[in-house]
Symmetry: C2
Subunit: 204 residues, 2 copies
C-alpha cells in the first residue's frame, strides 16, 4: 500500500502522538488543524515549544518554576509571604491550584514528584533534604503536606513525616483535610472519602 | 496576585490551547510534559509544526494532501487505480479511513468540507466544479458520494447529486450504505440508523 499521507504530515502526527494521553486519532486532528491554520500560528507555537526549555528554570530554594532571569521564586522572595509556613506539593502546577484559592499566604516547596516504586521514583529523587534545610534556615513553624490524595501521595506524606521527625527538627506538620468535595452528593462519595469525612468531622 | 507561572510556560499553555478540543487543563498537561521532556523532542516537534506548511501541498486534480515535490496524488497517478471510479469525500483524512479498508481501487476527490450555512461554508467554497470537469475529462463511470453521515454531509450529498445532474453529465452516482455498525447491539442503535438499516436491508 502506498503511503497515504504526505511524509511531513505523518511526521507531525507521530510527534504530536508523544503528548500525554494523545492517541493517533487525536494527533491526526491536531496535525490537520495545524496544517490548515495560518503559518504565523504554527511558528508561534513552534517558538513557544522551543523557548519553554530555554526561558524556564527551577527555583533553587522552592523548586517552583521561574523565569530564567529570576534568582528565586517571587512566591518566596515577596515580603508579603510568610516564610515560616510551607506548603509541600508534588509538582509545580499544584502551586497554581493552591494560589487560586487565594487563602494561602505562606511559601511553597515542590518535591518534584511522589514516591512510586512502579515508576522507579524513590525518596532520594525528591527534594526532601532541601526541605529539612529550609525548615532550619528559615526557622519554619509549620509545614502543610499537600501531596495528592493518591496512594503515592499518601506514601510520600508518611515518608516525609517520618524523615522530618528523624532529622530531629522541631516543626508542626499538618495535612490537607480529606472529605466530601463541594457539590457532591453523599450517595456518590466513595467509601474511603466518606470515612475520611467522618473521621475529620468538625463540631458546630 | 503575582504571575504564578513563568511567562514562557504561560505562553506555551496559551498556544497549545488553540488546538481543537484542548482546554486549559489539557494545555497545562501538554506544556508541563514538554517542559520536562528532552530538548531534542521539543525541537523535533517544533520543526514538524513548521515543516507541515512548507512540505505539504494539495493535489491539483484530487485535492488530496501530497508532498510538496509531487505533481499529483499517487492515489491518482498510480496505474493500478481505476480512474473511472471516484469516491467523493469531505476532507483529506477521510481518504486514509477508506484506504484502510483495502477494498477501494478507484480514485478520490476531496471536496474540502461540507455545506454548512452556520460555519459560512457554501457550495462555492467546495471543489464541486472541478469534480464535474474530472468526470468529463476521465470519462468517469461512477462516483461514490462518501460524505459524513451528518446533517452537513447529507446536504452536501444532495446538493452534489443535483449539481451533477444539472450539469448534464452522464455518470452513475451512489452513496455509502447507512446501517448498523459492526459490533453494535440493536438496542443501542439510534432510531435513524435503524430506519436506514431497515430501508437498506439485503435479501438473502
Amino acid at each position: 500500500m502506498a503511503r497515504l499521507l504526505p511524509s511531513a504530515l505523518e511526521k507531525l502526527i507521530d510527534e504530536l502522538g508523544r503528548l500525554p494521553g494523545v492517541g493517533s486519532r487525536t494527533a491526526e486532528r491536531y496535525a490537520y488543524y495545524l496544517l490548515r491554520s495560518d503559518q504565523r500560528i504554527n511558528d508561534s507555537l513552534a517558538a513557544a515549544i522551543h523557548d519553554v526549555h530555554v526561558l524556564v528554570k527551577t527555583c533553587p530554594v522552592t523548586f517552583a518554576l521561574i523565569d530564567a532571569d529570576q534568582d528565586v521564586s517571587p512566591l518566596y522572595s515577596d515580603s508579603d509571604r510568610n516564610k515560616k509556613l510551607i506548603a509541600v506539593v508534588e509538582e509545580p502546577l499544584d502551586i497554581v491550584a493552591l494560589e487560586r484559592t487565594g487563602q494561602f499566604k505562606g511559601t511553597y516547596h515542590v518535591l518534584g514528584g511522589a514516591i512510586s516504586p512502579i515508576d522507579g521514583v524513590g525518596p532520594e529523587q525528591l527534594h526532601i533534604p532541601e526541605l529539612v534545610n529550609r525548615i532550619q534556615d528559615d526557622a519554619v513553624e509549620e509545614i502543610i503536606i499537600a501531596t495528592n490524595a493518591s496512594v503515592e501521595g499518601e506514601s510520600t506524606a508518611l515518608f516525609l513525616q517520618k524523615y522530618v521527625r528523624d532529622a530531629g527538627v522541631e516543626v508542626r506538620m499538618s495535612r490537607l483535610a480529606r472529605g466530601i468535595p463541594v457539590g457532591v452528593d453523599l450517595e456518590y462519595a466513595d467509601q474511603i472519602t466518606l470515612s475520611h469525612a467522618l473521621e475529620g468531622r468538625r463540631s458546630l
